[in-house]
Amino acid sequence: MEEILFGIGISALAGALATVAGAAEDTESDIGSQGDPNSQVQLAPQMGYVHRIYNKAVSGEPPAYGLWVALAAGVAWALMAIQFNAILALVIGSAVAVFVQGVYATTAYLGRTASLAKFEQPVYIDILKSVTSVTMAHAFVAIFATVTMCFLMIEALGHPFPLPLMGIVWGIALGAAGSATGNPFYGKERQYQNYPFGAGLPISASGDIVRYAEAGERSSIDNGWFTSKGAGPASGICFGLIVFFELWRTILFEPFAAGWGAVIAGVVIIIVFMVIDRYVETWARNTYGPYNTEEAAPEEEAAA
């Protein structure tokens, strides 16, 4: 009983760490503009809209975070092997990974932005100085929280994977959850803030991103301020729920039915989430209603 209680406590702690990691990951990727919405940041100068938005999407979020978390985990693992204190090893590992992230961000910004030279998009050195350190700070939070969560899974819950491998697995999952949940909010709600709320962006409007703020030109740091109110927490909840339920169902139900208990619990949890999703979908249809009548829609499409 005591062991199960301990396991559930660790699951809750890992879930909390994952929530922080997810929120920091999404905010970092929005400040650095690393997700799919960066297609618009890259496109804008080609359409004549020169801007001051950071641009470091030379890799998707999942492989990038797979690398950084695995790197932090690998360094921490090596330090622990020579008897370093675990917390110190995790901090040093995360710091090393963040330096790699900083190099990645710098070279990616310079490379991607320089490639737009023929469209008269300047490389702003002040952006490089001010925004890079902010993305690094957020990346540190995301990496440290994830690698600590991986450490707990191995040391406290007895998962057989070594720390670096665990880092790859959960780093990629962190990037996948964060980019899937957070991207639309940054892409539609922030970059196209001047388009009507409650509708997708017309394809013809691509590239016309918002470039000006209340005073002067919009900075990527403001994008982090905006998305940390919606996409960041949503990504955090997403990754936190994934980690918590994955651990919780295993710890609590694995002893039942010779291991099948955790599987059955997983099926039940999936069905519960499916029902919630259907409720959300129906709620949206009933509350917001159609954009036009069912009869008019096919005619409009035919005319187009």
């Binding site: 790859i168 959850a177 940054y186 509708a199 099926v267 999936i270 959300v280």
Partner: protein
């Protein structure tokens, strides 16, 4: 025909010559293992089946890519291979944890792990679309949801191909996670059996063998997962909405390709410890 005068890209057809070459590659890999280390024959077939499961599963995952990030197209706003990898590797985590209970529970745990990640991610995608952006789900490929019967044309905002995740795409995402998680776990489990048996005699010691076997099997499973998922992403070419998307019919081609790729990767993974 494309603008450059070449043949049209994509298509659903299967190229008989390429399929034959893939089959020969699979058979050669199986034959080599049979000659060099017969005990690994069944694991290699398991690895190939794992690759096939991953490849088939990736077709279910609703991926909208960059257009989805602006609410211009339905699906999840990230890459095909990346999202599938996220789901499949979360499955691998669960499957590896349950490996001590035997293959059936391990595979089921892997499948559920992948399905759970996709179920939560897809839900949060819809939550963000609905509550943070005020946009209802609408498919661009079909007028009616095959499961719920919801109609979509009136719920598509002007100038877009649809947005969000309709219920059929949600179910597709969960199924993709289940297949991916199961495939990744099968590769891990089979390679683990080979390594646990072959490593002690290969290195002449049993000290630290379990950790080495788990690490090698795990990293090969991650690598092969990405091989199968990326191959499939090329087959899908860009975005897919799920099982109702016409592109879904292309799956046999990716499955043939992935079986050949998994056979070669599996062969090298096995030869690593027996030669």
């Amino acid at each position: 025909m494309s603008a450059l005068g070449g043949g049209a890209a994509g298509g659903e057809g299967i190229n008989p010559t390429a399929s034959l070459i893939a089959l020969v590659i699979v058979l050669v890999a199986v034959a080599v293992v049979f000659v060099v280390y017969p005990a690994a024959l069944v694991p290699l077939i398991g690895v190939i089946i794992g690759g096939v499961l991953i490849s088939f599963g990736v077709h279910f995952v609703p991926v909208g890519g960059a257009p989805a990030a602006m609410g211009q197209a339905p699906g999840i706003a990230t890459g095909v291979a990346m999202l599938a990898a996220g789901g499949g590797l979360a499955g691998l985590f669960g499957g590896a944890w349950a490996a001590e209970f035997g293959i059936a529970i391990s595979l089921a745990a892997g499948a559920i792990g992948g399905g759970l990640l996709m179920a939560i991610t897809c839900l949060m995608v819809n939550v963000v679309y609905v509550y943070a952006m005020g946009i209802p789900a609408a498919s661009g490929k079909v007028d009616k949801d095959p499961i719920t019967g919801d109609t979509f044309p009136a719920y598509k905002s002007q100038g877009t191909e649809g947005h969000g995740l309709p219920f059929i795409s949600y179910v597709g995402g969960v199924l993709g996670g289940l297949f991916g998680g199961m495939g990744g776990t099968l590769i891990y489990y089979e390679l683990l059996q080979v390594y646990e048996e072959a490593l002690p005699s290969f290195l002449g010691t049993t000290e630290g063998m379990t950790t080495l076997a788990v690490s090698l099997a795990g990293i090969f499973a991650v690598g092969m997962f990405l091989v199968a998922a990326v191959l499939t992403a090329y087959n899908i070419t860009g975005t897919i909405e799920g099982p109702h998307d016409p592109k879904f019919k292309r799956w046999p081609r990716a499955v043939i390709g992935s079986s050949a790729a998994s056979a070669v990767c599996g062969l090298f993974a096995i030869l690593l410890v027996v030669i």
